[in-house]
Amino acid sequence: MEILKQIAECVEFGKINEKSPYPPNMKGRLGADELVKQALEEGVDADTILKKGLIVGMEIVGVKFRENKVFVPQVLMSAKAMTAGMTHLRPYFNSGEVQRKGKFILGTVEGDLHDIGKNLVGMMLEGNGYEVIDLGTDVKSGQFIEALEANPGSLVGLSALLTTTMRNMEKIVAEIKKMNPEQKVFVGGAPVSQEYCDKINADFYSPDPQGVIERANMLMGA
């Protein structure tokens, strides 16, 4: 369907709405905002718009980011376009007409204030059909555990950008596993590596959001 392709393109290139000057070569064209609304009016169902439109665009962004073809500013614009489209779908999420793939709890660990990377991971997860519960930065183990208790069956991801706070990850992973040994924990952030992930007994590491999505999809059978 042509309109779904257009929606995907808006997300891929970060075209929020008609007014937005970005990207320059799409000036004056309709953005994700208008197109999603239009699609709903034309009777396309919300689930299809999400999965065949918005998510398709975001998947391309994930791959391009991994390959260093786009950078933080472009991904943020794509995420904005995604959000603009999602606003119109929200009522359908709440009514259960659109199924999310699962819940993902995210936070930057205690002592660490870096959130650009964590936010990108969150946006990509959202863009790929997950409900993201973002606990923000400087998150202590107690907060992760509370969120996990309130949302059973969720996945959880810890982000750290400092070698000093990376050590707090170990503590948080241990506390989470103490609460629920089966809980799957993702870890990431620039200084983190697969080796470190194994060492602290976390379950998954990925250097980029795309890897998080691939793993999460496998775990959730999505």
């Binding site: 970060g14 937005s20 000057p21 970005y22 990207p23 260093n68 786009v70 950078f71 933080v72 500013p73 472009q74 943020l76 614009m77 904005k80 002592g111 204030l113 959130d115 650009i116 400092l162 070698t163 000093t164 620039a190 200084p191």
Partner: protein, 454 residues
């Protein structure tokens, strides 16, 4: 030639006899004094003591005065969160919290810690006239992020005019800081702009390059050297960074050094880097640090390269790891040994030695590093030549220098691990220390008798 001259030569892409070493010691110097980062970065006396100690412990050729990218932001009203084991962090962004650009002014020498920093630089200059001192200033884009927060990324796309206005302003702040540092007598002014690692080349060219260019030009007009540091993976922007016309760029461990070398030298810009901060310096062994540093030195070469960590070293970096790098820099023999053992480990393709051995002759092979940097190698070679001479054509004596590919392969094929080594008929007879001539001759004669060489 003193350290400062060495650094300057490397900046000017002239051949040096030894690669200069610039340990980026920031709050780690606090640790050297048993202080927290906060105690260290707020005191002129402590910084002077700490840097002095680092220069001596790490035999630095150049060193930054202070590595703290929050100094300007603090002076302009951003709140800082001070911690024990890291530089402080900016936690408030005035432009995102109601202030407008016109409400913020270029700092004055008396704002925040600026005066303290400049006095520190001036005092270090007096105490260390022969060391290259680097004055570090927060780059215009990173400063813009401090003032505005991460909204800046969206604004690049949505409100480019506003971003330009902001960049013009932060550039003036850079100019001010550069001028103040230059007054203290530093040798290099470095613009440190890690945030630019997060943007694409198009945005870099539009929003960073013209401004960085302006600052570098002003530094150049004052006959001071300049450098552009970007921590983080900024591979996409290396070319554009060089086009800003600094004298030098210094880059992070994420970027392949050979790539940086090829791009920067082609543009007439010297380069530095990129020992790994975490894997090597913080968590590695001394040998791992040396191997990492050696790899950098071998790629970097002796023209236009300065050895440095990828960025500010972690506070807890073990002293012995930094000292191991310092030792390597000053000890060419150690460099040769490491290179050689690496070659052995890498299983380089062995040489086919069938024609090397001869039925009617004794073969003596001396494996060396170049004679200039390894005095022992020179003596070993001389001793071997003198010892062999009386036997004329019955003994073949050859040198294998491991600076050549053939030398490395020979070393691996013979299983030699130390330099110099004297090998007779494939057996490592004398290792590292130089034997008296008659001992060598006694060995040679032993082989002659065995083989029946007359």
């Amino acid at each position: 030639m003193n350290s400062k001259e060495l650094v300057k030569k490397a900046f000017k892409i002239e051949e040096v006899h030894r690669i200069p070493w610039v340990p980026f010691v920031g709050c780690h110097a606090g640790k050297l004094l048993g202080l927290t980062a906060t105690e260290y970065l707020q005191s002129k006396e402590n910084i002077i003591k700490g840097i002095d100690k680092a220069i001596k412990l790490y035999r630095a050729d150049g060193i930054p005065v202070v590595f703290d990218l929050q100094i300007e932001a603090e002076a302009m009203g951003c709140k800082l969160n001070w911690v024990d084991d890291n530089p402080p962090a900016v936690i408030s962004h005035p432009l995102a919290e109601g202030k407008e650009l016109k409400d913020i002014s270029i700092p004055d020498i008396n704002d925040g810690r600026i005066k303290m920093v400049m006095e520190t630089a001036a005092e270090l200059r007096r105490q260390h006239p022969d060391i290259a001192l680097y004055g570090l200033i927060t780059g215009p884009f990173t400063l813009a992020l401090h003032l505005l927060g991460t909204d800046i990324f969206m604004k690049l796309m949505m409100e480019p005019d506003y971003v330009h206005e902001l960049m013009q302003f932060t550039t003036k702040v850079c100019q001010f800081m550069a001028d103040e540092y230059i007054k203290t007598g530093v040798d290099v002014v470095a613009i440190v702009d890690p945030m630019t690692s997060q943007i694409d080349p198009g945005s870099f060219e539009e929003f960073v390059q013209p401004y960085a260019n302006e600052v570098f030009e002003s530094i150049r007009n004052q006959s001071v050297l300049s450098s552009f540091f970007v921590c983080g993976n900024a591979k996409q922007n290396i070319e554009a960074m060089c086009d800003c016309k600094p004298d030098n760029i210094s880059i992070d461990e994420n970027i392949p050094l050979d790539y940086v070398r090829d791009v920067s030298l082609a543009k007439g810009v010297s380069f530095g880097g990129n020992i790994q901060l975490t894997v090597s310096l913080l968590m590695g062994t001394e040998e791992e640090c040396q191997r990492d540093a050696l790899t950098c030195m071998d790629i970097g070469g002796k023209k236009g390269f300065l050895l440095a960590p990828g960025c500010d070293i972690p506070m807890d970096t073990p002293v012995k790891n930094m000292q191991a790098v310092a030792e390597l820099v000053h000890d060419e023999l150690r460099q040769g040994e490491l290179r050689a053992s690496e070659a052995v480990q890498k299983e380089v393709e062995p040489l086919d030695l069938t024609d090397h051995w001869q039925d009617d002759k004794v073969v003596v092979d001396v494996v060396t590093l170049n004679a200039k940097s390894c005095a022992a190698c020179q003596y070993m070679l001389k001793a071997a030549e003198v010892a062999c001479e009386p036997y004329g054509s019955k003994v073949i004596c050859r040198e294998y220098n491991i600076l050549t590919q053939e030398g490395v392969r020979m070393m691996a094929t013979l299983g030699v691990r130390n330099l110099p080594t004297l090998v007779i008929e494939g057996n490592k007879e004398f290792i590292s220390h130089i034997p008296p001539i008659n001992e060598i001759q006694a060995k040679i004669e032993e082989y002659m008798n065995k083989k029946g060489v007359r």
